[in-house]
Every structure is written in C-alpha cells, then in structure tokens.
Symmetry: C2
Subunit: 330 residues, 2 copies
Amino acid sequence: MNRLLQCLLAVFFCSPAIAAEPLPSWNDSPSRKAIVDFVERVANQDSPDHVAASQRIATFDNDGTLWSEQPVYFQLSFAIDRVKSMASENPQWISTEPFKSAIAGDIQGVMASGKEGLVQIFAASHANMTADEFSDSVRHWLETAKHPQTGKRYHEMVYQPMLELLEYLRENDFKTFIVSGGGVDFMRVFAEQTYGIPPEQVVGSSVAAKFEMVEGVPTIVKLAQNPFVDDKEGKPVAIYQHIGRRPLLAGGNSDGDLQMLQYTTIPRDQADTTPRLGLIVHHTDAEREWAYDRESHIGKLNEAWSQANQRGWVVVDMKRDWKQIHPVRK
Amino acid sequence: MNRLLQCLLAVFFCSPAIAAEPLPSWNDSPSRKAIVDFVERVANQDSPDHVAASQRIATFDNDGTLWSEQPVYFQLSFAIDRVKSMASENPQWISTEPFKSAIAGDIQGVMASGKEGLVQIFAASHANMTADEFSDSVRHWLETAKHPQTGKRYHEMVYQPMLELLEYLRENDFKTFIVSGGGVDFMRVFAEQTYGIPPEQVVGSSVAAKFEMVEGVPTIVKLAQNPFVDDKEGKPVAIYQHIGRRPLLAGGNSDGDLQMLQYTTIPRDQADTTPRLGLIVHHTDAEREWAYDRESHIGKLNEAWSQANQRGWVVVDMKRDWKQIHPVRK
Ligand SMILES: [Ca+2]
Ligand SMILES: [Ca+2]
C-alpha cells in the first residue's frame, strides 16, 4: 500500500529530524535539562530505564498549562459570548441575571451570580443542543472572538514552548493527552489543529448526552445532566476511566492538577522504580503573560507547589525558562 | 533518535508487507471483497474517495464480534468464578441467592435470580475493590479458567478472521477501537495482548470510581455506583464521549449494535458522501461455533439484520465466509 511511500518519506526526513535541537523556545535551564534527561532516559533503547513505547503516556492540563487562562477561563468567555449571540431568541434574558450581565458583557456581574449563575450560563451555552450545533458554535467563536487584552484569537494564546514539548514527546513515541477541567467537547474542536492532539486523546469535563434518530438522521444531543468535573480527584479517575493506564509524565499548573501529579509520579511500592515526570507551569511573567500562584482565584497554585520539591516535580518558571510565550503570528 | 533505526526497519519490512495477502482466513466471498474494496477505496491515495488517515476510526463490538459469547457472556463466567473464589471470605453467601447458585456453579440458578441477582453478582465481583485488585483477578482468571465446552482459555476463543481484519485495518492506518457492552476494565486486561488494541482504545460499560491516597499510595477504587451501559443507544453516546468523532467503519453482531451501525453509516445530509462500512457477524456455524440470531437470548440479531440490506451493511456468514473460527493453538 502506502507503506513503500511511508518508508521513502521516512528515510528522506531522517537526517533533519535527528539534527534538529528539541525545545528551541526553552532557555538552557535546569527545567529544560530535566525534561530532556527524562525523555532520553525512558526513550533510549540502551537506557537501563527504557520504557516500552506503549507505556509512554503523557497527560497535560489545558487552561494555564497549554494556553492562557486570564483574566477568566477562555471557555467562560465563549459561554458569555454565546449567551449574547442567543439573546435575541431569548428575550426574557434581558431582565434576568445572570443573563442580563452576560449580555452586557459584564463578567464581574456574571461572577457575582455565583456558582448557580455560572451553571445557568453553561447550561444555556453548552447543553440542550445537538453535538454538531455546539461544535459549530465553538468553531465560529474561535474564528471571530478576540482576547480583550491581547487582541489575539484565543487559540493563538497557546504556549509555544509547550507546543514544542508536545511535539518532542511525540517524536519520542509518547502518546500525548489533554486531561483538563475544560469541557471535552469544547477542547476537541481545536485540539487537533492547535496541539496535534486528536479528539480521542482529549479528556475533560462533560455532561450526559443522548442518541436519537431525528427525521432519519442519527443525532447526539448534549443534556444538562450528570456533569462530570475533570478536576482535582476527578483527574486520576478520568485517566483511569478514559486512558486506562498510568501516565509516565503529567503536566499542570494549579492545585487542580495535584492528584494527577500524585497519581502519575508517586511509586506504588518498593518495586515500582519506573521513572516518572511531574511538571508544573508556574506563571511568573507579568510582563509577557500574567504572574499568579498561591493567592489567585484562577489557576491557584499552592499545595501542588508546596509538594513539588518533596515529589521531585519540575517547576517551570515561565519568565526564566521560556524564550517566547505565545507563538509569533505568521 | 530511534528514527534512523525506525526508517531502516521500515525499509527492511516493506516488501513482505506489500506482498502478503490480507485476510488469509477469509474465503474469497462477497463479504471479504466488500471489506477489501472499502479499505482500498478510503485508504488509497489516488482514490476519489480517499479519507485522511486521522479520520480512519474503526469500532468493534467485542462479545460475539471479536470473541465467542456462548453459552453465556464470558464476563458472567468470570463473575461467577470470582464469587466462588471469594466464598470462603463471605460465609453468608452459602445460603443466599444468587450467591448460593453461583458457588454451586449453577448458571441457570443465577439467571433465575433475574436482573437484581445479576447486579449483586457483578457488584460483588466488580466493585468495592481497588482497580489493581480487579485487574489482577481478571488476569488470574484468564490464565486459569477454561471454557466448559471447548476446554480452551477464554481469550483463545477470539475469531482468527477478525484478528486479521483488525490488523489489516491498522496496516491501512485505521485506529481500531472496541466499543462493547462488556466492562471496560475487564476488557482492558487482555485487549492489548489479544487484539493489539491498547487500553485507551477500549470503550465499554463502567461503574464510577474514586481516587484516594491510601497510606501515601495513590489508589483508584471501583464503586458500585452510576453504571454506564455501553449498549444500544449507549454505544453512539460512548463513541461521542470517548472518541469524539464518527467512525468510518463499525462492526457488531447483535441488536445491541444497531445504533452504532446507524450512527456510523447513515449520511447526515446530501453533502455527506464519505463512504462508511457497517459490518455484522452472523453466527451461522453450529458445528465450529454456535448458530443463533433472531430468537437468541444472547446476541439477539433481529432488527439490525432486518435493516442490513437497506443500509448496505455487510453480513458476514461465519460458516460460509470464514476458513477458520478460533486461532490454532501454537
Ligand atoms: Ca489549569
Ligand atoms: Ca455483541
């Protein structure tokens, strides 16, 4: 079949792939060295710590780890924009909170409506519609919406060094997954094109769905039921349920990733000597991005940071370790 | 890295791979021809119906499609054997149904306890234990238990022609998944070694799980809560939730696969002209395996069979189409 072509292409591309230095947007720091050392240690055939390719599972949080998350989670911006665009079909919203604030673009007002208000905003923008309607709305939003402070498209606010890390891991036969508190259906719209991570390797928060034949057409409908929150203890559970094996490497940026980092890196017993890597992206760059950690309302990094030293997790200092934050627009 | 080695190996193995005829255990029948024609149509670079490799998703039911399912689903045999082995720790079972029947190896007695009885058997053998305890128990069972009629190990009762189909699809850059009513944690124990399907590509029925640190060790515990049944309407929902895109090919053997076959093959609108293949394994071989369909309690094939002609699904006749059923023991 195409195998011959594949072989020829593989040979053709061999030399440049060997020559290229990995992680070009990373400074030559201890963080970079720890990552490269780890990957070589598990991937090199001759290493005493070599790990079979099938076991090379890497899981990454998304918000604050692969893309920015300030001033609010991007998915909340989507939800609010979506409510705005649905306002004309829902005239009652104009006088009812939290919709009133959402339509006015008043994020503080939406936040003031508390958890219940947020649930209403998410239900209105994420459920009781077909899967196709939802993904179309996300796609449209990504193509049109701009971040209020940078003016960039939201999917342009991914981290260039993390894109390189994903690619470097895949070159070394890692299978890369997203395991994020973000909505799985939301992330799947852009994860393949943006991160090179196909839909089936995106794990996230979800709501129930149902199947029905609508005028002879098979249809999936998203329901406002049985929410699963892929955060904190939910992350190792989701990894178990969806991936079915323990990662070799996990990366996050907040206390929401604590249990995933523990699940990944803590040895199960004395015999469990396979090397594992935990990685925390620390937001330290107020100039090029944002700086926040222990006291932040979004992406709070406190307990996980405190455990990092004891657990041997690599804490990436964005300001010090990264030459570049977001990709340069072509 | 290993890329150079990969290239050399790829070149080395090129010629034999091209030369080998696919599906050697399949007779040269219309079913085989339909499969090969379809795969060439979507995989050949020059075909007008060429489909990008990333879209080549194939989903297969397990019981009755990839391995046998008579006289009872193999997972029920596991559950009953498991109850037996736990009987000494649960002395009250000896006088209580359905456990009494299970311990006596009386499957009819267990079945007579109805759905409630089965739920008790499954809860006792599948929940309230750690994930590792459960997978160890499945592994032990596979290594020791024998099918009551064939005397084979259960995982030896897979279908050789389907193993070849999985392999043929993967050679053509399909990503192969199991989407089965069987328990996901049960199937994952053997799916990689038996079918070449890694845990993350196994989708099945499940129960809730929780994460906890037990004496400093990260632990997943299976709970007898929130069962998800990956059957009938549950299959397209599970495909949506877990895989996140529509398969190009789906294979099943019973009415439990009807909605998966519909979801996979029915065009969404006029513009939806991508070729899709639906495949039904029809159990027609009472001599080499079992023969059953419209009236069977296990693997009932009625409505899906009735729709096959109209929908263009390939109905594989095991007796006529397969040279061999189970692999020859080495
Ligand atoms: Ca995060
Ligand atoms: Ca079946």
